[in-house]
């Protein structure tokens, strides 16, 4: 996914000693000969994650199979000041699992056991390498499911989901990864082990688990995760509505919200995205300006009443075709088209950039108009796929690398779209994370004191800055450095925002 830009770019180099042979021997001792990768050919597999335009070759990759091994590895790293990057399935789209020069990658794929399934308490305890969809598969016979459903759920790992606080189409109703994580066992950057949260709620103390989830591997490595599972609703209905343009579809979404509805998911695709999805998986979507996909779930009577209302709203807003998926197979096909949308871009464009921005839902018409304008200006097509219910946009900037200058133009356009999101009061990322990709944008969204305050947490967890260093923050804060005075937020000085 993401882009196919081949030229690796320069990345931030941290101060680290070169990993020498003696240390390799020590690491091999910990994980066994099959748990240590040092050959150049094999290391290439780990040089990037789902965002392939950043590539760094790590010095070594370690494949521990237990918490104890992770602790031992991290202790060596701590002693030798070797930076380390934890990695799950490597499907991330922001370069969060990008290796650090002269650092090691700790791959958690061998820690893939579901440790406990506790149906009466609705808890499942897993190792970080367990695949997202496997949790649901395991509890499906009891009619439970694990709610966060990123599009990559059949391959992405729970550990990675925890690092990125992954979302998905259904987080409008069910919340994000952080809503569904109840406890963590974490190996800190000095190799010590802590337990945050637990099987019961509200453990006394700070909600460090809440900060850890979504910290993109910068606060340590989660080695055990207690998840909350959810009972399957009595019924699920998915409606597909075809609109002339995203404006009418957006109006329908606003009307649903105004009518007091909270669907399980509201997804929108524009014409270009529909064409791509059709070409890729033949989801049998109507060919229209904008497609709305609304999913309601809950007790039968409740869903029936609400679905009638959604139907009405769509018609009123100008939908010219409305279908309700009649079977599980039809529903699955509808979702297949949506979830395949990113990859489907390959059908209509040789290269593309996946963007991830968030806007207040009401800004949708303005932002869409601006994206259209910027797209025309740049002479590049932009396909749009959104989680419309929560304002999370995924504009896909299409380009052809073989045409000179297009790649740069696409990157510029993609960046401008993010600036649009910030200007609209939104965020530079709704679910893909900051990682390597967007750390420079952080200063456009947050003021210096905001970022420094976040880094105080980092200093408490990892004062030597060894755990996935050089990610998330545009400029690492030296721990012990005295925080500065208040500096006006860039939006404030630009007159876009006001501090109260």
């Amino acid at each position: 996914m993401a882009t196919g830009i081949s030229q690796p770019r320069e990345t931030h180099i941290v101060d680290a000693r070169i990993v020498d042979a003696r240390i390799f021997d020590e690491l091999r001792e910990i994980v066994g000969p099959r748990g240590l990768i040092t050959s150049r050919e094999e290391l290439h597999t780990y040089e990037c994650d789902g965002l392939t335009n950043f590539r760094v070759l790590p010095r070594a990759v370690l494949l521990p199979d237990s918490t104890e091994q992770v602790q031992k590895i991290v202790r060596v790293c701590h002693r030798e000041k070797i930076p380390f990057v934890a990695r799950g399935s490597g499907t991330g789209l922001s370069g969060g699992a990008l290796p650090v020069e002269n650092g090691v990658v700790i791959s958690l794929t061998r820690m893939n056991k579901i440790l406990e399934v506790d149906i009466p308490n609705a808890r499942v305890t897993v190792e970080p390498g367990v695949i997202n969809l496997d949790v649901t598969a395991r509890v499906a016979p009891q009619e439970y499911f694990y709610a966060p459903d990123p599009s990559s759920q059949s391959v992405c790992s729970i550990g990675g989901n925890v690092a990125e606080n992954s979302g998905g189409a259904h987080c409008l109703k069910y919340g994000f990864t952080t809503t569904h994580v109840l406890g963590l066992e974490v190996v800190l950057a000095d190799g010590s082990l802590v337990h945050l949260g637990g099987k019961t709620l509200d453990a006394p103390g700070y909600d460090l688990m809440g900060v850890f989830v979504g910290s993109e591997g910068t606060l340590g490595i989660a080695t055990k995760i207690i998840l909350r599972i959810v009972k399957r609703p009595e019924c699920v209905q998915t409606l597909l509505a075809a609109f002339p343009s995203t404006n009418e579809a957006g109006a329908a979404v606003s009307d649903m919200i105004a009518a007091g509805m909270l669907p399980a998911a509201i997804e929108m695709m524009d014409n270009l995205a529909i064409q791509a999805a059709e070409a890729a998986v033949h989801a049998n979507y109507p060919n229209c300006g904008a497609l709305l996909l609304v999913e309601l779930d809950g007790p039968v009577a409740e869903v029936a009443a609400l679905m009638a209302h959604v139907n009405e709203i769509c018609k009123k807003s100008g939908a010219w075709e409305i279908r309700v998926a009649q079977s599980d197979a039809e529903r699955a096909l509808v979702w297949k088209g949506r979830k395949a949308a990113f990859a489907a871009m390959g059908r209509i464009s040789p290269n593309y950039i996946v963007q991830d921005g968030v806007i207040p839902r009401t800004e949708l018409p303005n932002v869409m108009r601006e994206i259209g304008r910027l797209s025309n200006e740049a002479g590049l097509r932009v396909a749009n796929v959104f989680h419309a219910g929560d304002g999370n946009l995924h504009p896909l900037v299409l380009y052809d690398r073989r045409i000179s200058g297009q790649e740069e133009a696409a990157e510029t356009l993609s960046g401008k779209i993010l600036e649009l999101c910030i200007g609209a009061g939104g965020s530079i990322t709704g679910e893909h994370g900051v990682g390597e990709d967007k750390k420079k944008m952080m200063s456009k969204m947050y003021s210096e004191p905001d970022l420094e305050t976040m880094q105080r947490v980092r200093c408490a967890f990892d004062p030597l800055n060894l755990s996935n260093p050089s990610k998330v923050f545009p400029r690492p804060r030296l721990c012990g450095e005295k925080p500065g005075e208040y500096v006006a937020h860039p939006l404030e000085t630009a007159g876009i925002a006001e501090r109260f």
Binding site: D202, G205, Y206, V211, A301, A460, F461
Partner: protein, 430 residues
């Protein structure tokens, strides 16, 4: 309590005059006996009018090494441990505005001193609510509710504050004002500091404003209460409901020394949906007798707590957490521990969070709380003592905070190096 002790006079007059340069004279006053915090008498009360003023005063206090107690509505000021020191009350009473209700985006931002009731009234005008029912909404404020992480019965369906707060601005002891999160529901840019300050009892910074996601107000509500034969039956019914496809908003067990266990269920939704679900529930409840208690059962927490207020000499109140399947066992244990002549009542949510009131002889209450805490701890649960009888010897409010305590202390040092904010009130001496 030594609340009647005379106000300290040692406070440097330079500090006070510096404060008056920032805050108008009518909003700076000498603390009275009613400003005491768990028996510790502060000397000054300051009511800043905005975030910048608050941060400046906080920095001044930090510079001269004064202990600062942030205060909202003051409804839960006695919670937590007694402060090691208390010099300055920093009140958010004047910072009470709803800043913006973006109703079409289902978000609201408000200043820390805004009461929950005012916030709810504002968003209700557009048929929305903050899906949270904390204690004493008329007086409890946004900042106070966040700092104490208070949640009520709606938590089962909508989660707690950590799931509802999407942005927060905090003034740190050194005067830094920092925001994180934002006004969009979905946002993973940077660390989630709103969660860090939620439940931190004001020990990391003073929350100055917050942004929440909202939910639509339900069209209809229905409460069904069932009288069960015993705890086993109550537990069985709760688990059966949880394991069913009912879409209930709240589910709790009420019981006490002299009260048969009741199971209360709250349904919210459309009229047709509610009727269908109620019918289903009645089938599950079988022979159990229905109790016509109505919606007031959801105020049970406040009812219990008001008893500790009227009879503070002889009762204690604790918040316990246990596994959902162990609620009955926990309640049975409370009954057993209290058998020596203590009266007790409990309201426990299906999430495994409960409130227990124990009243009787002070020495026996202390033993009961210790016993219950130990018993819960072995099972991975906890007991936080929220209210203690006035005459009871010190008992740590929090109990064991596990192997992450060192990390918590490190976070505290990063945010408040000198221990200016609420010193000694939180876990492990923080």
């Amino acid at each position: 309590m030594d609340a009647s002790a005379s106000p300290k006079t040692s406070l440097s007059s330079t500090f006070e005059s510096d404060v008056r340069k920032i805050i108008a004279a009518e909003h700076v006053r000498t603390a009275g006996a009613s400003d005491a915090v768990a028996g510790v008498q502060p000397s000054l009360v300051v009511e800043p009018g905005n975030e910048q003023e608050l941060a400046k005063v906080l920095k001044l206090a930090n510079d001269v090494g004064m202990a600062v107690i942030p205060r909202g509505g003051g409804t839960k000021l006695e919670w937590g441990n007694r402060p090691a020191r208390a010099d300055l009350i920093l009140s958010t009473a004047r910072m009470n505005r709803v800043i913006e209700h973006a109703w079409a985006d289902l978000t609201v931002s408000a200043e820390a001193g805004c009461t929950i009731a005012k916030l709810q009234d504002t968003v209700a005008k557009h048929g929305q609510r903050l899906a949270l029912d904390p204690l004493w909404p008329e007086r409890a404020t946004v900042g106070g509710v966040l700092s104490t992480n208070d949640s009520g019965v709606l938590r089962l369906r909508f989660g707690s504050l950590r799931d509802l707060v999407i942005g927060a601005t905090v003034a740190l002891a050194d005067g830094t004002v920092a925001s994180s999160g934002g006004k969009v529901v979905k946002n993973v840019a940077g660390y989630d500091l709103p969660k860090l300050v939620t439940g931190a009892f004001g020990t990391l910074g003073v929350i100055t404003r917050a942004i929440f996601r909202l939910h639509p107000l339900p069209k209809e509500k229905r409460t069904i209460s069932v009288v069960t034969r015993d705890l086993t039956e109550a537990q069985r019914l709760v688990l059966a409901i949880q394991n069913s496809k009912l879409a209930h908003s709240a589910l709790q067990i009420r019981c006490g020394a002299e009260m048969q266990p009741r199971v209360d269920v709250l349904f919210e939704g459309t009229e047709t949906g509610l009727s269908a679900q109620s019918a289903q529930l009645k089938l599950m409840a079988g022979e159990a007798r229905e109790d016509d208690a109505g919606g007031k059962v959801w105020n049970r927490r406040e009812e219990i707590l008001s008893r500790t207020e009227s009879d503070g000499e002889n009762c204690a109140m604790g918040k316990f957490t246990t596994l959902p399947v162990e609620i009955a066992e926990t309640v049975a244990m409370i009954g057993k521990i209290a058998a020596s002549g203590l009266r007790w009542s409990v309201v426990a949510q299906a999430t495994g969070i409960g409130l227990v009131l124990i009243d009787g002889a002070v020495s026996e209450i202390a033993a009961a709380l210790r016993g219950l805490r130990e018993w819960l701890g072995i099972r991975g649960g906890s007991l936080v003592v929220v209210r203690r009888p006035a005459g009871m010897a010190e008992l740590d409010a929090w109990g064991d905070s596990g192997d992450a305590l060192g990390l918590m202390q490190a976070v505290k040092r990063q945010f408040d190096q000198q221990g200016t904010l609420n010193p000694g009130r939180f876990v492990g001496g923080i």
